[in-house]
């Protein structure tokens, strides 16, 4: 069943005009913000396909910026997101690009602050649903429909087992996982979609594992 419940039919509550081009775009921005861990000084946004062609008319540009500001998809400040970004001291730039074999509603969001940079690529495929397809150099896939952990670590034996033990002891079930690495023994990214919210103990425990450099929590479970 593609649609699992009544609220995937009646809902989400959202700011128009398009669930894919507006509500989904807000969620892409929110996900990028969660990966980055707060407000950037600068946001560079690349729009592909239909986002590039009709995105401005649908407010896709405003919606992504609103998400980076931390607004939910039904926040009426979305239409003034550029002004709010300026007030918050965030520089925003847009460009369009072409990339073969990408979903038509795709964007790459690059956030920068204090010499630090994160890049998040994802697509919006209707009804406010999204799929993240890349984080920095890693090709991963997650929906942000579940509490999600992004764990940046060295590629070494038993790493995933140790992470799973910490979560398992807390009674947290892993629904889906994916690992991508730059090279053997190089840096890797493990993405875990969880059935329960991880607490600070679990996140701290994973962060203190040997070889883990960073842990991000993506908390956007509800599509409002």
């Amino acid at each position: 069943m593609r649609y699992k419940d009544v609220f995937s039919i009646i809902g989400p509550s959202m700011v128009g005009p398009s669930s894919s081009h507006t509500a989904g775009a807000v969620r892409l921005g929110l996900t990028a913000r969660a990966v980055f861990g707060g407000m950037p000084e600068e946001a560079e946004i690349v729009l592909y396909g239909s986002f590039a062609a009709t995105g401005r008319g649908h407010g896709t540009d405003l919606a992504i910026v609103a998400g980076i500001l931390g607004y939910e998809p039904d926040d009426e400040r979305i239409r003034d997101a550029f002004r709010h970004a300026e007030d918050a001291g965030m520089r925003v730039s847009f460009r369009t690009a072409h990339r073969p074999n990408t979903h038509p509603n795709t964007a790459t969001i690059i956030l920068r602050r204090d010499g630090r940079e994160d890049s998040v690529t994802g697509c919006s495929h209707g009804g406010g649903n999204i799929a993240i397809t890349g984080v920095n150099r890693f090709e991963v896939k997650f929906s942000a429909d579940y509490p999600t952990l992004l764990i940046f670590h060295e590629d070494r034996p038993a790493m995933i087992a140790e992470i799973a033990v910490i979560l398992g002891r807390a009674g947290i079930n892993i629904g889906y996982m994916e690992v991508d690495r730059v090279s053997r023994h190089g840096s890797a990214l493990t993405v875990l979609e969880l059935d329960q919210e991880p607490g600070p103990d679990e996140i701290g425990g994973i962060f203190s594992l040997d070889g883990v450099s960073r842990v991000c929590v993506i908390p956007l479970v509800r599509k409002t």
Binding site: I9, P17, A23, S50, G57, G126, G128
Partner: protein, 296 residues
Amino acid sequence: MRFSTLSELVRLCEREGVPIGKLMLAEQAREADEPEDAVFGRMHDYYQVMKEAVRRGIEEAPVSRSGLTGGDARRVSDYLEAGVPSLGPEAGKAMAYALAVSEVNASMGRIVATPTAGSCGIIPGVFVSCQERFGWTDERMVLGLFCAGAIGYVIANNSFISGAEGGCQAEVGSAVAMAAGALTELRGGTPEQAVHAVGLALKNSLGLICDPVAGLVEIPCIVRNGFGAVSALAAADMALAGVRSVIPSDEVIGVMLEVGSRMPEAYRETAGGGLARTPTGQKIARDIRMEQRNEV
């Protein structure tokens, strides 16, 4: 969910002696592993968003972000007050309210996707106008939304609900069918009658293409929401009068899948055909692109 077709849904309701709305509320609570009042509360919140969108669309007459549309709900509403509409005042109001919510959507206001943003006017148009007319409580309307959701759930999982996948029949067509079935139940029809209303309504929108001018959810989407609300009233009346969908509603949903699957890409929200490719449609698209370039 314990059902995946409309006939299974009717059988379950008959066996348990409950209307579709109540059954769906219980099913949703089970699916989400939440108490019924939490699930009910979320839907109740959605209904308040719908009512507020109706109010704003009529009172504030918002203009779309592109500037192409806006104010039609107010125009129809003023016309209803000034004269005798051919539709009659009640159907006229459903039409005005549906236009209102769609215009709020196009102006980047808050709406509830029912089932999508492009078709967000139809269910509020029918529900809010009928609530005013018959004096129904919000609680009754919320159960009506669960009924509409149950119908939409079956359509979505057996066919489509987005214009990009199945054309406008999938988007506006699904919303009309959901509103028609729910209104039939709200007015005291049986689950079987409600499901006949779904089949009757869907048959009237089979083949409808998705051809938005400049790719925007405005032309013809907004007026199709207005028409859709009126169609839903008509389908509910036919079903309550005892008219049956001779081709069972589940089979009509199958036809929507067949027609949508064969629909050329030009007619599936790409702005590559239909109204979008008319000389005027193309000129509007060019003008909007120019404006955007000038803004940069």
